[in-house]
């Protein structure tokens, strides 16, 4: 069964001084969100989002679900996963790296098992596969200490 998800964006003016808005998304879960070139390409983004931040959010959420699924299938359902994704964007070149990091509370699993499950989720989640052209996708996985 195919699932469709949609978003609408408006842009006004040229790239450098213009600005855009993610006006609405199908679920209604977020929007409007402002986007701009300075928010995308400068060290400090202000409080505006960017395509790369949204890709980071998409990848981290996809990875987390794939990892929860893989762990549960192996008999070690997680209590909690805390994941981050950092997307590196080089204007003129594109997206050069995505670094995933996850800390998990997973009863009954050791570090090696958790790292292996994280590698599997990185390889298999649909967003990872759609972004397979990114030169470097890494994952740093560790179990929460004292958990």
């Amino acid at each position: 069964m195919a699932a469709e998800r949609r978003a609408e964006v408006t842009w006004n003016g040229d790239l450098m001084s213009g600005s855009g808005t993610i006006d609405s998304v199908g679920s209604g879960a977020f929007a409007p969100l402002d986007v701009s070139w300075p928010a995308r390409s400068e060290e400090r983004s202000g409080a505006k989002t960017s395509p790369e931040e949204l890709i980071a959010a998409a990848h981290a959420s996809c990875f987390s679900m794939a990892l929860a699924h893989g762990l549960a299938q192996a008999g070690n359902a997680p209590e909690r996963l805390a994941t981050s994704a950092t997307v590196t964007f080089v204007p003129g070149t594109g997206i050069t790296k995505i670094a995933l990091a996850v800390e998990g509370s997973v009863p009954g699993l050791d570090d090696a098992g958790f790292r292996e499950a994280a590698e599997g989720a990185k390889a298999n989640c649909p967003v990872s596969q759609a972004l397979a052209g990114v030169g470097e996708i890494t994952v740093d996985a560790r179990l929460a200490s004292g958990g």
Binding site: R6, V9, V25, A56, H69
Partner: protein
């Protein structure tokens, strides 16, 4: 050449079928948006999903690419409306894949001919890094209308 980093954070609790996650962008522009397996695979239920976030990313990327191409051609846009639909499907032997991104653009631009506009749309698609990447598994279609009423 600047290297720009943008990050997002997730917390997930529970297994995949009944668990729920929260996604936040580090800029603070969106925070603690809930997502879950039903919000991803079933009818939209008010929660977001990785694919909806991809749709928003692709729309933002193409809007900026087209604004750039039009401006370099001497005709900056007055307004671009971009609509993106991301399709995820189960592919035999490969599980779920992002198989399509369908983009529709309505552009209000003075001083550009239709042929030139069409060429600039193709350039924008080629220069949007996300359009390029997502073709790893998805077919990308971009349809753009110039000054349609």
């Amino acid at each position: 050449m600047p290297r720009i980093e943008r990050s997002a954070a997730i917390s997930w609790e529970g297994n995949v079928a009944r668990g729920v996650g929260l996604v936040s962008g580090d800029t603070g522009s969106f925070a603690e948006l809930p997502f879950s397996l039903p919000s991803r695979l079933n009818a939209e239920n008010g929660k977001t999903s990785p694919e909806e976030l991809l749709a928003a990313a692709h729309g933002g990327c193409l809007a900026m690419s087209l604004a750039s191409e039009l401006t370099q051609a001497g005709s900056p846009p007055e307004r671009l409306d971009v609509h993106v639909r991301i399709v995820m499907d189960e592919v035999p032997g490969q599980g779920h894949l992002v198989v399509g991104s369908e983009v529709e653009i309505a552009a209000r631009v003075d001083g550009v001919e239709q042929d030139r506009f069409d060429a600039l749309v193709a350039e924008a698609d080629a220069s949007c890094p996300f359009s390029h990447l997502i073709r790893a598994t998805a077919s990308v279609t971009v349809r753009a209308r110039l000054n349609a009423t």
